[in-house]
Symmetry: C2
Subunit: 201 residues, 2 copies
Amino acid sequence: MNPQRRGEETRSHILRAAEECFARYGYDATGVAEICRRAGVTKGAFYHHFPSKQAVFLELLDRWLATLDAQFAAVRAGAKDIPEALLRMAGMVGRIFEEEGGRLPMFLEFWSKAAHDPMVWQATISPYRRYRAFFTGMVEAGIAEGTLHSVDPEVAAGAIVSLAVGLVMQGLMDPQGADWGEVAQEGVRILLEGLKSREKE
Amino acid sequence: MNPQRRGEETRSHILRAAEECFARYGYDATGVAEICRRAGVTKGAFYHHFPSKQAVFLELLDRWLATLDAQFAAVRAGAKDIPEALLRMAGMVGRIFEEEGGRLPMFLEFWSKAAHDPMVWQATISPYRRYRAFFTGMVEAGIAEGTLHSVDPEVAAGAIVSLAVGLVMQGLMDPQGADWGEVAQEGVRILLEGLKSREKE
DNA sequence: AAAATCATACCAACCGGTCGGTATACAAGG
DNA sequence: CCTTGTATACCGACCGGTTGGTATGATTTT
């Protein structure tokens, strides 16, 4: 087989195995040996493709953030209206929890690692701020188009992101505790109710 | 000195040192030796007072949850109105971030540990569910007293807790990224705006 | 043969936890 | 008051096991 192709495959095998382990056991509790075992590869191959365990983690982080980017952009582009866009995003939550709930624990892993590791923090914080800016832009657009009433867009965006982050966290910790898809849907609806422009209070 | 009193002091020294280390470096990255160094005791003393490193962690968790309990109950009791109670709780956020911001990273540590460790999960999830129930009760009370319009109390409570959790998370990751106290205040205000009872939309 | 890819064997460091032993306080008995 | 006994608090060297990472050789492809 083509060696480059072969190399790429082992690489992705390692990535997939690492993702699974990190999500299931956590970063520290996952040994390189275990990753290799699951990937059907030896340590030699592992350290041929990645300089360190952390490098694998960071690449996983990058990829995850990239998919988030794409999803957000797609939803916004497909909606005619800011409220509609937000509601659709909320609607995605339920589906996400069902379909790739297995990959979600990585989110927590990223977050908690970033709190202590400067490199991970660097890699996390900048995309995160982009998301905040993204939602700020949405709120501004909503105000401009007249569907939202005048509020500080940054603050409103902060609240929206808080809702999202909190939703993911709770869904991770207590999946059976509630229908998180519904909570997301309804939470955004309530938030929108408070944001929608209307004559007077 | 009284030996029992002395014992209690070393015990609390260990607890304080461990809290600091866990918050700064994370649970796994913190060695028992480091905790002992900061506490000014030896390993012998450590394992005399605690059966394991995890036991220290769990005790820290218990204490933290107990203070949360007290604060919530106090605020609710002191408010004449559900919306007022929620707004006051939001107002506490800024103060909390300033005053004991140093202890907050433990929150993340608890959360991420709970995701992988059944014992920690057990210790975390039950108080957490109490909080959800607490807020559910508040929403129900708000509906009963007529200040909130009729919504599913469980769902609304889920949204409120999400906002809170997300707020803490963001404040932890990006303290300078925003005035989280203000975001909390305004976020709850918006949420309340969507929850308040009014004639017609 | 040169380069890329992977396997095997191995290491040095670290870490949670143990253990034999010491020091101090205190109560009882003489 | 002094001795003896005992429980608590504490010390610090040490151990078994694990882990991230490395060194080196084999194999395959071009």
